[in-house]
């Protein structure tokens, strides 16, 4: 199994397409960082406009590396599924398109092993992509903008964390994002099993994520309890929960607290359940598939 995984990673490492995602992340992060560096004040003014009557913020302190990373993640994590699908959807369908799938299946490796290894390779790719994103969005932002207490807006309120109470939250958030993106990778892999060309599963993955995200975000009472809790996209944004803190009755933030840890835990398990479902279905379908390509 380990040898097969090494082979799979070697193929991903050698494939030029792999680096598109890394370059795209770098470009988007750089664009946001440059914009905030030169016009961050206007952005913060706009962001805080609803609260400035009630609270007084020192904008130069609010705009720091931690907030910049939060802004980038908010923007970028919606688009990362596309980058994940580029690789995961290619895992089976791309091989079918190249004609190498039939050669792989004639080797003394079970089809279950093949799917598991391809999924594991996709997860490793997701981890590396998110580490890359963390380095660029968090570390580079910390170097450019410095660090300070972090303020996160949520509807008409805000959460404030002390500077030394933030880093661990990012580690948890990136960890959670890895699980969320791995679920997308599992969906792409499942769709990939049915196709002989990677374009179909890539488009299908993105379409599903977009449609379900819209459903998750829509404020329709009928869907709130009947549909939304069961959509995996509703749980993909739960990483934000790590930045929502508890406060005392006096309104003081409790250091090291998370407002609703059970909700994050529940979302985590739902994503893991979806991941198992998608990979399980991918294995079951691939085992029965006649390789005609």
């Amino acid at each position: 199994m380990w040898k097969l995984l090494q082979i799979e990673l070697f193929k991903i490492y050698k494939r030029p397409r792999t680096y598109i995602a890394f370059a795209a992340v770098m470009a988007i992060v750089a664009v946001v960082q440059v914009a905030l560096k030169y016009d961050g004040k206007s952005y913060i003014d706009f962001m805080m406009s609803g609260l400035s009557d009630t609270f007084e913020f020192q904008n130069e302190k609010v705009l720091n590396g931690y907030l910049v990373c939060f802004i980038i993640l908010n923007t970028l994590l919606i688009h990362v599924p596309l980058l994940v699908a580029l690789i995961a959807a290619d895992e089976v369908a791309g091989e079918a398109n190249m004609g190498t799938l039939r050669l792989l299946v004639t080797k003394p490796v079970s089809r279950t092993q093949l799917i598991l290894v391809k999924f594991a390779a996709s997860v490793i790719y997701v981890i590396l992509l998110l580490i890359w994103m963390a380095v660029l969005a968090l570390l580079i932002s910390m170097l450019i903008f410095g660090t300070n207490d972090m303020v996160v807006l949520r509807n008409d309120s805000f959460h404030q964390m002390q500077a030394d109470d933030v880093l661990w939250r990012y580690i948890m958030a990136f960890g959670y994002a890895t699980v969320a993106m791995s679920t997308v990778a599992a969906l792409s892999l499942l769709l990939s099993v049915f196709a002989d060309n990677a374009v179909g599963p890539i488009v299908a993955t993105i379409s599903i994520v977009i449609v379900l995200t819209i459903l998750s975000e829509m404020n329709i009472p009928l869907y709130d309890k009947t549909v939304k809790p069961y959509l995996f996209t509703s749980h993909m944004v739960a990483w934000k929960g790590f930045f929502y803190v508890k406060s005392t009755e006096e309104g003081e933030t409790i250091k090291g607290s998370i407002e609703n840890l059970p909700a994050i835990g529940k979302s985590f398990f739902i994503l893991v359940a979806y991941m198992f479902l998608f990979v399980g279905l991918a294995i079951a379908c691939f085992k029965k598939k006649d390789i005609l390509s």
């Binding site: 050698k14 050669l103 004639t106 003394p108 490796v109």
Partner: protein
Amino acid sequence: MTAIVSVNHLSKHFRDLKAVDDLSFSVNEGDIYGFLGQNGAGKSTTIRMLLTLIEPTDGDIEIMGMNLKTHRKEILRNVGAVIEKPDLYKYLTAQENLSLFAKISGVKVPSHKIKEQLELVGLIDRADSKIKTFSQGMKQRLGIAVALIHDPKLIILDEPVNGLDPQGIADIRNLILQLSRSMGKTVIVSSHLLNEIEIIANRVLIIDRGKKIQEGTATELFDPVNTLVELIVADVASTWEKLQQTPWNNNLYAKEGDTILLRMHRNDIPSLFKTLSSIDVQVYSLSPRHSLEDYFLSITTQNRHVETFAN
């Protein structure tokens, strides 16, 4: 002779289409087994079932004395294959592809062995070139090297000369002969190119519409009594009439352009030549039509064949 492959009552149905229908055959150790059939006859489907790419609807496959369903991994460790186009990883070099497929086959192959394989298929100079720069013939040869890298006992080649130029075809043909004669491998080779099969195979299976039509040695299948002989002459109509006046009348088969076809014993060709000289016919050429091709057409598409010639 020990049977290395034994196929019993194999069938594959795609909804209403019977791609393979109750097919049974066996391949002996050391054979170059020719698998012959027109496009769509069921050759590739059968080969894909032998390689577990397709699940049979019915029937059993035994390879090296083991059931393919229950001993898939053990069997595939000893099988190498090229299925139609030898598609490999285009963004990897020849050496990287070989090394990768050796590892997937569960074999640790030292780099000198990889170089030996590349030498065998004449690609040693391109060891470090990416596959996307290879010609079709080079890919085909590398595909065979990939099939051989884990030293399998059985090699299955599905249409290995498809899309190759004459030199490429000759190279692959020589390689297959070398595999059998010098390396003692058993080779199953499918093709719709009859002359290729006739040249290299010692045993032949002919299938049509998923069914076995004939199985035997090339010599058994070649019927010298019923050879189709091509006679090219200056004046087809008058030669035809003249031959009708001779004992060759019963052998006249069809007219096709400037050619007259006769069905006859191959050994009688010199005697026909004498007759033609005696009746003053200007002969440009007199030769047997390709034997296996003739046989193949006569048994697979007899009706269409006769209609074409009759017209």
